[in-house]
């Protein structure tokens, strides 16, 4: 198995080079909200989409052509809210779980430093067509979880698409608990944190990020965990609650250079978040959860705040979700909110592949009297381009529009059907291995009769 993995890594690490290929004959869905196009074409050059959809291009001689007749072709799934790559196992497995930090730091925690691209969870999701994910560190003792990353699920050691792309904060029931037991307390904690950040803003230095990565992976936010934070001039007031690093990490949030993902479910909590946006107009807020969003959908739409929602939560599972309904996403969408789907506290370390099933459920809702669903094209967009757009990365990932990264999946059938499977997966134009711990176990145990050697020799 070691040899096997090493071979995969070696293959994937080889540069894609000036490669051109075309996928023809399949039903192509662009992921931008449009409906699927029968017998469409996708053309990829150097890891980017050249053209896709109802296009007919003359291909240069020798171009590799992949026949997708009878299959579906879409952008790879972008997991709108996940903890992918942070935990290989969630419970009682020391060393395998980096989702939550309960140490002294909070907002300054950089999830990109915890990602393990060799987690079995990444391979399992890759094999099911998830190619990118927003990875959100979970809040520990503080209301702030830290800075989240956008990753790819490629079989290589370079998982980070964008480090420190957003900050995560709890401002609903969980936020209240972490701030000492009330929502009012969480609000004050949050405002104080911004105040402490604003004091540090004056020490912002010209230092470039030391992120050792390729040019294309440059983060938009400079690494706040840097010398300006502990330089000789970095004096702070006596009246502080945050560590210096945590306060510094909130500077780009305050300046609107880093997105702020705010988890709130209750309608009244959502309105408080909208008020924050009014009070601090530079904040680039994205609402997460929003189970009761439909009750105040017009207000969210007016505020222009995108929402990453749970798709099919319909239980009053908590007092902040009393009005939960599967129509929430459809109703917010109908009110003009930019909605995408995430796995908020729903097997978020591992079952991101279920987003396409949930998206299919939202399509099915259209046929239920009294419910509000979404069109097929919109449902696909909610698990591809919409989450990317919510954090300003729609130009890079999430659709098959020209210039986007060539993250592609060829599906055995309609991808919004759970019974369909990913037959081929490409990330940045590189075909990915679909073998996982699970597929290896299947091979070992597909036939049970005893053989001349124990099962451990079947590999």
């Amino acid at each position: 198995m070691i040899g096997r993995i090493a071979a995969l890594l070696l293959a994937a690490a080889a540069p894609a080079g000036a490669q051109t290929f075309a996928i023809v004959g399949g039903t192509v869905a662009l992921g931008n909200g449009s409906e699927p196009i029968p017998n469409g074409m996708v053309i990829v050059r150097d890891g980017r989409i050249v053209a896709a959809g109802d296009v007919r291009m003359k291909l240069p001689a020798g171009t590799q052509v992949i026949d997708a007749t009878g299959k579906w072709v879409t952008p790879g799934i972008v997991a709108g809210f996940s903890r992918l790559g942070l935990a290989d196992v969630d419970l009682s497995a020391e060393g395998a779980d980096d989702t939550t930090a309960n140490g002294p730091f909070s907002a300054s925690i950089d999830a990109s430093t915890s990602i393990n691209p060799l987690d079995t969870t990444i391979a399992v999701n890759r094999a099911d067509g998830v190619t990118r994910a927003l990875v959100v560190p979970q809040a520990g003792k503080s209301i702030f979880g830290g800075q989240g990353a956008v990753i790819d699920t490629g079989a290589d050691m370079e998982p980070i698409t964008a480090a420190r792309k957003f900050q995560f904060v709890e401002l609903g029931e969980k936020g209240a608990a972490k701030a000492g037991g009330s929502r009012g307390s969480a609000q004050v904690f949050f405002r104080n944190a911004l105040r402490e950040a604003s004091e540090l803003r004056r020490f912002e230095g010209p230092i470039e990020a030391t992120h050792a990565s390729t040019g294309t992976r440059r983060p938009i936010v400079r690494n706040p965990n840097e010398s300006r934070v502990y330089g000789p001039d970095a004096r702070r007031s006596e009246d502080i609650l945050l560590t210096r690093f945590d306060a510094a990490a909130l500077v780009p949030v305050l300046q609107g250079r880093q997105y702020l993902l705010v988890h709130a479910e209750r309608a009244s909590d959502i309105l408080q978040v909208i008020d924050l946006k009014r009070e601090f107009p530079s904040l680039k807020i994205v609402l997460v959860g929003a189970s009761e969003g439909w009750l105040v959908a017009n207000r969210i739409a007016e505020a222009g705040i995108p929402v990453i929602a749970s798709a099919v939560n319909d239980l009053p599972a908590a007092f902040e979700q009393i009005a939960a309904t599967q129509s929430n996403v459809g109703r917010m969408r109908a009110a003009g909110v930019n909605v995408s789907i995430g796995m908020i506290d729903d097997n978020d370390t591992r079952n991101l592949f279920m987003e396409r099933q949930y998206a299919g459920n939202l399509v099915g809702l259209q046929r239920i009297p009294g419910a509000t669903g979404v069109s097929w094209g919109e449902a696909l967009a909610m698990i591809t381009s919409r989450p990317a757009e919510a954090i300003g990365m729609g130009g890079e990932i999430g659709s098959l529009e020209p210039g986007r990264r060539a993250d592609l999946v060829i599906w055995s059938g309609d991808p919004l059907e759970g019974s369909s499977a990913a037959d081929q997966v490409y990330i940045d134009g590189v075909e990915q291995p679909l073998e996982t711990h699970q597929t290896r176990l299947l091979q070992r145990y597909r036939y049970l009769p005893r053989t001349d050697l124990p099962t451990a020799y079947r590999h």
């Binding site: 290989d88 196992v89 969630d90 419970l91 009682s92 497995a93 079995t120 969870t121 399992v124 309608a267 009761e292 009750l295 099919v312 939560n313 319909d314 239980l315 009053p316 599972a317 908590a318 007092f319 979700q321 009393i322 009005a323 939960a324 309904t325 599967q326 129509s327 729903d346 097997n347 370390t349 591992r350 079952n351 592949f353 279920m354 099933q357 299919g360 459920n361 399509v363 099915g364 046929r367 239920i368 009297p369 009294g370 419910a371 055995s412 919004l416 059907e417 759970g418 019974s419 369909s420 499977a421 711990h437 699970q438 597929t439 176990l441 299947l442 145990y445 597909r446 049970l448 099962t455």
Partner: protein
């Protein structure tokens, strides 16, 4: 069924041992009421109904295209093709483009004992005060107003479900089987004639819950040792009562915990055993043989595929998820073909939820497992066959297959009409009948249950 014979033989052996001693005649034995919290469920009225032109999955592997299903007086009257005549006066439903199936049965739910909202005041699933708690009964925790029951009915087509205690304990307590018909009391929901189950657990949970407090069990060997010690006591307790029932005399002192275990040893209470790993299931099977009881089902059996032959040979159902994996160590080797592989080995495969959300989509879970099985090249799989995982096999594991689980004349009319192929993510129940009474109609807002908890709340009566 063959195991029932073993129990009887064991009991007879004790009986003979009892007779060997000679004593003067004693006062005749008084029999203890074994059903002190009886079901008060009464089916609701339903019309004589015939659904025509639907695709029918009978639940026992058959598919009928352009099928006809007739039910009335609470029971299935007839199932067949278009040639089947409609009885006079029957309400006729055009099922063209629709699918008709037996209601789905979830053998593993915590609705009512871990209800919504999930606040500590409502948290009644684990009596985690001792690893051995066979004396508790899940029905005494079930809150009939849990809004989750209605979601399971209208979105999931769930007509019967088993509510289990949690898995903190080696012996978690008795389960209860419910009709998914709203009731003011749990008694009004109890499935008449369904046997009790006993929840047992192996593996991580008991050893974590108690081991972390330096209490036994702290290890897997501790799990087994404590369970065996308990069975030794149970066998002795049963012997005492067998002797009393045979010969009369002074009534032995009653012990609620031992009453339940005695019921298991007598074959009256079915073992529903939470167990993930193949090696641990094998240990539990040996334990059952050591003490003379039968394990009805292993729940969450993520490694069932490794020992599917063993499960088949011991007539044990495997209760599984389609694709949950890795959330703890004992789930690390979950594979997506688990359900179809167990089925393929000739063992009894069941899809379950253990979750108030997944219970609304068990048909879709089966669809994923079916697709994965077909892709793995497992032969003779089809949608009609896969429906066995959703109703027939669950009914078998609950001991109610003679009453529900398939569309068979004479069984209870637990029927779902889906608005499309239920193996599609786009389909949902359109109408649901329980014992022939219509409990849900997507086109009629009055035919949608609303729990007491949700009255007057935002979203009351919403489609959900």
């Amino acid at each position: 069924m063959s195991n029932r014979g073993i129990f009887a033989a064991t009991a007879a052996a004790f009986f003979i041992a009892g007779c060997a001693t000679t004593k003067p005649p004693e006062a005749p034995a008084v029999h203890i009421n074994e059903d002190p919290y009886p079901s008060t469920y009464v089916r609701y009225p339903g019309a004589l109904t015939v659904i025509r032109h639907a695709t029918v999955f009978t639940g026992d592997g058959q598919q009928i295209n352009d099928g006809t299903v007739v039910f009335g007086d609470g029971v299935i009257k007839a199932v067949g093709g278009p040639e089947l005549a409609s009885p006079a006066g029957a309400l006729e439903i055009n099922g063209a483009g629709k699918f008709v199936t037996p209601g789905i049965i979830d053998v593993h739910s915590h609705l009512g004992d871990y209800p919504s909202p999930g606040v500590s005041a409502n948290s009644d699933g684990n009596e985690a005060t001792s690893p051995v708690r066979p004396e508790v009964w899940a029905e005494h925790s079930v809150w009939p107003q849990d809004p989750g029951f209605s979601r399971a009915l209208v979105n999931g087509g769930i007509t019967t479900l088993q509510i289990l205690p949690g898995s903190a304990n080696l012996f978690g307590g008795r389960s209860v089987v419910l009709k998914n018909v709203p009731g003011r009391t749990v008694q009004e929901m109890k499935f008449p004639g369904a046997p009790y189950g006993l929840k047992m657990a192996c593996g991580e949970n008991p050893k974590r819950v108690y081991g972390s407090n330096n209490q036994m069990p702290q290890t897997r060997m501790g799990n087994i040792a404590l369970a065996r010690q308990t069975w030794i006591k149970a066998v002795a307790y049963k012997n005492k009562w067998d002797k009393y029932y045979a010969k009369g005399g002074d009534m032995p002192e009653r012990d609620l915990a031992m009453d339940t275990l005695k019921g298991v040893l007598e074959g009256k209470i079915l073992i529903q055993n939470h167990c993930y790993r193949a090696d641990e299931m094998a240990n539990m099977i040996d334990m059952s043989k050591e003490f003379g009881y039968h394990i009805t089902a292993f729940h969450h059996a993520v490694e069932a595929y490794k020992i599917a032959d063993l499960l088949r040979d011991n007539d044990i159902c495997a209760v599984m998820w389609a694709d949950w994996y890795g959330f703890k160590m004992e789930a690390y080797d979950a594979i997506k073909e688990n359900i179809p592989l167990v089925h393929n080995a000739g063992a009894c495969a069941i899809v379950h939820s253990d979750d108030p959300n997944y219970i609304q989509r068990l048909n879709q879970e089966a669809a994923k497992a079916l697709g994965d099985g077909i892709r793995a090249g497992i032969p003779n799989l089809s949608e009609a066959v896969a429906w066995e995982w959703l109703s027939r096999n669950p009914a078998k594991a609950l001991g109610i297959l003679d009453k529900t689980g398939t569309l068979t004349a004479g069984k209870g009319a637990d029927v779902v009409m889906w608005n499309g192929d239920p193996f599609s993510d786009y389909s949902r129940p359109e109408r649901v009948w329980i014992d022939g009474a219509e409990m849900y109609d997507a086109n009629n807002p009055k035919k949608r249950p609303v729990s007491d908890f949700e009255l007057g709340q935002p979203g009351e009566g919403d489609v959900k």
